[in-house]
Symmetry: D2
Subunit: 306 residues, 4 copies
């Protein structure tokens, strides 16, 4: 069976039989035309079938971010923030929220996480050292981009674990760029999962995932697809073309052309990926600000941040 690579729970779900034991789906459309899909993995059997840990995966979809109006984008940010807030289920928790911007800031589509950290309203140091200088309604938020193993020589998990032990956050939110199977999802879908996140691995090494099991605190993962793998797309096209007659060995040979570049895996992105990453980081930062400082307006936050 060929390698279909995606980090999106909705896409993995589409590949399973309609009635998969332990996996439940729900959909809703908002008045503003956003589509929300919940994939709920409710048993170990479901987790095995999905190749993902048990928990809830929400996908919010809009049209391509750059085509929507500023007003629609604001609506999208609000909706993401509102769903994120529901998932936070803070019960009077006053410990800080730690935001982790995963990915490599020097690789364009992978810079989403670090860019969100730069734009989110960070308040923990003010609340601790200058509480009178900040609105008491503001939450306590800190944010760091730990870099990637190939650049730092440190596993993301080691860095995050160390910080969690020092800072004792009440919640960790990890932001990452994802890979999708369908290119139409690039920059248009946001996945929020209450199961945490496995940096650098769609279906990977769960020991090093950022999750309640490994960090001892709730971890929400937020991801937006920024690329698709060329091999996966090519395979999909071939399968459609060859249908039942598709033969694994033939396909591998045909796909050879796509894997021919020696210099690192081939990815597919829109031409304007630099711009799209910036826009998406702005969107997520707004959504996070809405969820983490719910009674403060966007304009007030902007004034604080300047």
């Amino acid at each position: 069976m060929r390698d279909i690579r995606t980090d999106m729970a909705v896409e993995i779900r589409e590949n399973l039989p309609e009635r998969q034991e332990g996996v439940q789906c729900e959909e809703r459309e908002t008045e503003a035309g956003l589509k929300l899909t919940w994939v709920k993995i409710q048993s170990q059997e479901g987790a095995r079938a999905m190749g993902k840990p048990m928990g809830n995966y929400l996908t919010l979809e809009t049209r391509q971010l750059e085509e929507v109006t500023p007003r629609q984008r604001a609506e999208f940010a609000r909706e993401i923030g509102s769903e994120l807030k529901k998932m936070m289920t803070e019960d009077g928790n006053t410990r800080p929220v730690l935001i982790i911007g995963l990915g490599n800031r020097d690789v364009t589509p992978d810079a989403l996480g670090p860019k969100v950290c730069e734009q989110v309203f960070v308040s923990r140091h003010i609340k601790e050292h200058l509480p009178e200088a900040i609105d008491s309604r503001a939450g306590s938020v800190c944010a760091i981009a730990p870099g990637v193993l190939g650049v730092t020589g440190l596993e993301t998990f080691e860095v995050v674990k160390g910080i969690v032990e020092e800072v004792h956050p009440g919640l960790v939110i990890a932001i990452d760029a994802l890979a999708a199977r369908k290119t139409s999802r690039i920059g248009t879908s946001v996945q929020i999962a209450d199961t945490g996140i496995a940096p650098g691995a769609g279906i990977g090494n769960h020991r090093r995932a950022l999750s309640r099991e490994t960090l001892g605190v709730k971890v929400i993962g937020i991801g937006v697809p920024m690329v698709a793998y060329a091999g996966t797309i090519a395979g999909d096209i071939l399968e459609n073309a060859l249908g039942a007659s598709a033969d694994a060995a033939d396909m591998e040979q045909l796909l050879g052309a796509v894997y021919a570049a020696k210099g690192g895996e081939l990815i597919v992105t829109p031409k304007n990926i630099d711009f799209l990453v910036d826009k998406t980081a702005e969107l997520l930062a707004k959504a996070l600000n809405t969820a983490l400082h719910p009674t403060i307006s966007e304009e007030e936050i902007r004034a604080f941040m300047e």
Copy 2:
């Protein structure tokens, strides 16, 4: 007939009948294992068949740039510089060489031209204003990245034409990032053409090309493929798969999936494209320095530039 998009003369050539009137090919391999291919378009008939103006198109190929050793890369730079020098055919010309870095510095794979400009040894102002401060063997070189129409509101041609009229260079060298049909050529092939270059258009609007006809001075174009179009690759795979049974309408439908992203055309690049663009800019800057200041060593140039 489906749209095969490439800026490489060697790739267009591969698509034509073996004996194409007015198009001639030559190949040579160097001791260091570099492959050089000349495509010479020698008549209007050849130009029509190729969809490119008459002239000489040289392609130098190596293995993926990042895999080769620093020594091999230096050898590659020398070879490019040496072929470039032959093409310059300066006959005691003392007028400056004007380097044009085409492309958008804020779009990763398109930033090749602007990045070369930043690294090439620029000397014209020193030779004019402080001749005693510079080695008399240094050529007179100036370099500018004019930006792209969508950002400046100015056609590249307008900017370059204006500067040429003021500066009266003896030669223009334009650097651009290209699209290839085969992903294996990304970052591994360099095309040098003595016919100039058409910014933002493989086969485009020749009125606005940078060429002797439009600028009144010889124009050498240097390009390196940095992307392939997803549609072209997908089409190639499909054609291989479906063979003789391929039907245009079917193919279009199958390809629909690849074009589905609304936010700008889909491109295919290696994952490390940011790094690859930097490395390639460094390579071309070295090659240009070799060709334009032939008797000055690389170390001397580095000392000048600091």
Copy 3:
């Protein structure tokens, strides 16, 4: 007499006798608390005394940009735009406006001009090629950052002159970072002059200035001080301290300490200069948009630009 370096007409004026033949001053304060000062150089005698060409120099002052609220900053942008509009005196002119972003984008305080170009709403190409895609109220605007002599080997004047000859704008607006004598003016004062601008020279080589005389079209110069020279400030402090007893030779020796760094002239900036340059570029871009597309709202422009 020691070297007092400033690019601000108001500061040069302060150094002259109160009644200087050929130089007239006017002041006004707006309701929002902005201070406007006009220095009008009305004769050759005034020009000699000021060391600046005849014409009108308007300075708008606010408090330090980063301290004002977003609302006050918007008010400041509107006021700059409104004064700029008055100075444009377009009489049914439909030729495009060409914006020139002077300075070096890789030198933090000097990057103001290039950064303004990136943020201003550029429309000329749309109006020419896709007029139906743009509001007919939009002006025709193009913008380019020509780089600096030391990087391109091209004089700014050569590049701008060349483009003007090709594009035939009805007005040129040149943006530049300035040096002030008083550090309190850094990031808080905007100078608008209807005499053009001399790149890289407070009082410099007028042959190479950008002005109606050299370009054949009206040139408005907009500058914001981003640095002060350490030598000028130190001299001011010394003069205050030593008063009448100040002796030129002594002062020079005392100032030696400040000039001791061999690696380029010493400048004084606020610690947050990177941030201040970004904020100021945003301010000027808004002011330009207001002046050049007067009947289109800021939100509409933002929607166009995305």
Copy 4:
């Protein structure tokens, strides 16, 4: 007494009486003309007088970095590396070295530490996961830039402490941009201290310093002055001018002019500070590579890193 601000032990030493109990000085000049000065704080009395913890502070001085030839710069890197190696005193230690790049990557003169991290040869992950892919002579090195409190909401100490607890390095090396009293030291002096470093504070809050006391592992601090404070320089000039007649109140008033900018403290830097920071980061990265992978040549390291 007025505020003299410097992070350099040699400059603090110059301000003390020649025979200061508990502080010892030594000097040496190398054949290549580098000047090395050791300030050794040997008692609590010396520490109080110096306002710095007990330990050894070595300063290496060269001429302004950008003026020296590439050859001299290589010599300087070797000398720094050699002294650093002596200070490391590793006794068969095989635990990794953790490099901390202090400072804010978005503030030009403060970006030194983060830029060094980007250029140093990081090997820990290869030695652990792919030992056969790396020369066995290579040391185990990891490197991270933790950001600054105002951006992350996290104290540098918290982040570093957390990572140290996870990674258990045998040595921490912290890199920081410093402030000097004399502008001639900007970019020309390197201070290496075996006492660790106090981020964001010349003489500050020792509880949060990075040191053996706080981290439980040896900490070497490496700093290079990138700025001077305008207030300190101005005070020095005034003191020279007014001599014995200097009166504190007068001086404060005179200095007022320099502190007038409301938008953050005023600093003095060379005009080419962006370039100087890049060059200095390159220098320190080479010095670190020399010290941490002593038997591997620079060219071999470059080949590894590509």
